[in-house]
């Protein structure tokens, strides 16, 4: 057998292993990028492709105030949730790492909301925050606060609701990652500092925190990336309201595409989101690699 034939044989043997993934990956992950580019250059509705419009969709996007508003809303969501999420996740991980009989209870209850469906957590929030007879408002009455907040009708309160619900729902994931980081810290570091007479605060400040920086950076970037994709809980809780004040970019893309029947323009705005996320994930992969992970 000559070497060329042998190489062919080897390729042929590997093919059945590679092909199923390769085909699914090509059709559903890679091809949409090119398809999206094509769509963004056309007038295109839910039924079919209409006419070539060149860069018209892109110029429309740059002048569309709703696009900028919803991009800002998504960015605001990222700004509000990221630092609070990382801080809360760290606190919860420290609590869940305490050496106590309650450890499983802590971990379980911090994580439990994460497994609930977005529809469930959204409607729990809506019903608990109902004015007049919602649980939260009646408890507020009970403790003597007589304000009757309309949680979804006020811009600031709507954002508070969305952020708090998102924290409650997803912080468990980040806590688990921090927990893994905490457990990776070598016991010997603490033992050595014990001998040196370090206080608990000093141990936390000079051992725990610095050791958590690598995983903390991963969590931070993952969180930013995930938050830029926010959509479902906002759609379900506030519907993007009041008056579009909380509408995220993905919701606007959805509305343009499927309510206004303009897939071409929706694909164009998807490209904007694509580039934001692409840059963020390149940064993330870079920093993960530099940690040798």
């Amino acid at each position: 057998m000559n070497s060329k034939k042998k190489a062919w044989m080897q390729d042929l043997r590997a093919l059945p292993f590679l092909l199923p993934f390769f085909i699914a990956y090509l059709i559903f992950t890679i091809f949409p990028i090119f398809k999206g580019l094509e769509m963004s250059l056309y007038e295109w509705n839910l039924v079919r492709k209409l006419e070539f419009v060149g860069l018209e969709n892109y110029t429309e996007m740059f002048q569309d105030e709703f696009f900028w508003d919803s991009l800002w809303n998504t960015t605001l969501f990222v700004i509000l949730t990221t630092p609070t999420m990382v801080a809360l996740a760290l606190v919860l991980a420290l609590l869940a790492n305490l050496n106590t009989k309650l450890q499983t209870f802590f971990r379980g209850s911090f994580f439990l909301p994460s497994i609930l469906s977005v529809a469930v957590i959204s409607f729990l929030a809506i019903f608990m925050l109902q004015p007049y007879n919602g649980l939260v408002n009646t408890v507020l009455q009970l403790v003597g606060i007589n304000a009757e907040p309309f949680w979804m009708a006020d811009k600031t309160l709507a954002w508070v609701t969305i952020v708090v619900v998102t924290l409650w729902w997803t912080v468990g994931f980040n806590m688990v990652l921090f927990l893994a980081g905490l457990q990776d810290i070598p016991e010997s570091l603490y033992e050595a500092s014990e001998i040196d007479g370090a206080t608990r605060w000093e141990q936390f400040r000079y051992i725990t925190l610095p050791q958590l920086i690598p995983i903390g950076r991963v969590i931070l970037l993952l969180q930013i990336l995930a938050s830029y994709k926010v959509f479902a809980q906002i759609l379900l809780i506030t519907g993007g309201g009041p008056g579009g004040a909380t509408r995220p970019l993905i919701q606007y893309i959805y509305e343009v595409g499927f309510t206004k029947n303009n897939l071409g323009y929706a694909a164009t705005m998807s490209y904007a989101l694509f580039f934001i996320l692409l840059v963020l994930s390149i940064i993330q992969l870079r920093s993960q690699r530099s940690e040798g992970k």
């Binding site: 390729d11 059945p16 309650l102 911090f110 497994i115 469906s117 019903f127 998807s270």
Partner: protein, 283 residues
Amino acid sequence: MNKNSLKILEKNRDPFRSVKLTVGITISIIFIFPIIWMMFVSVKPDGFMTTNPVEWFTPPYTFSNYVDLIMNSLILRWLWNSLIVAVITTILTLVITSLAAFAISQMKFRFKNTIFIFFLLGLMIPGEATIIPLYEIVKSLNMIDSYAGLILPMIASPLGVIILKSFFDGVPREVIESAIMDGCSYLKLFYKIVLPLAKPAMAAIGIFTFIGSWNNFLWPYLSILSETLYTLPVGLPVFNSTYSQAYVQPMTANAIASIPVIVAFLIFEKQIVKGISFTGIKG
């Protein structure tokens, strides 16, 4: 000094231990309180409403809402759809990612590095940003409004390939070489030797894929049109808005949707937590 005595020492030394425990217990209760409230509301008589917070938790209780919903709504159907879609998505993901990872890790073929890098690119492509063209593609494949349309676009997970490849790389060379010497085919080598060694990684990816599929909202929301094919996340809102001011029926629906996952979580808590720290990434 052994580990145990060190821990006792630690316990004695922490002056804030009780404060920390109190904070932990308080936060835990806040976290599970809405879920407990949901359970209580779901067993209240239909149409119940109150301005006294305590009354949500006191009797009378009834299970007639459950019976009513199960008989007269599509909720079990949606539960079934969610389950089927999640299970099939998980199985297919595990099969195709492990096969590809095995080839890249253990087999010889040309352009291996190029192909691997091509797969890696997928990590940077966010599904949310390509969902409009994906809709067009799935439409032209005639898979809108079908299980296939829900499942197939979700199974090519580059992360799965990367994790499994690095796991397969760790299988000792001698094991592989002696198996090949014995005339073991690659397929046999794959499922008899390599795959069993990769169980923890497979479990982690499986759990991850399952939770991701179970909670997926955007894609089923776009691609499913008929009510009988809804998954739970898409079906529940229909329900909640139909009965908007009444509490009991929507909460019963939410409870029915949540009980299976809560039970599964209580059983598999350790594996799930391990799985997440293993993959170190979230959907």
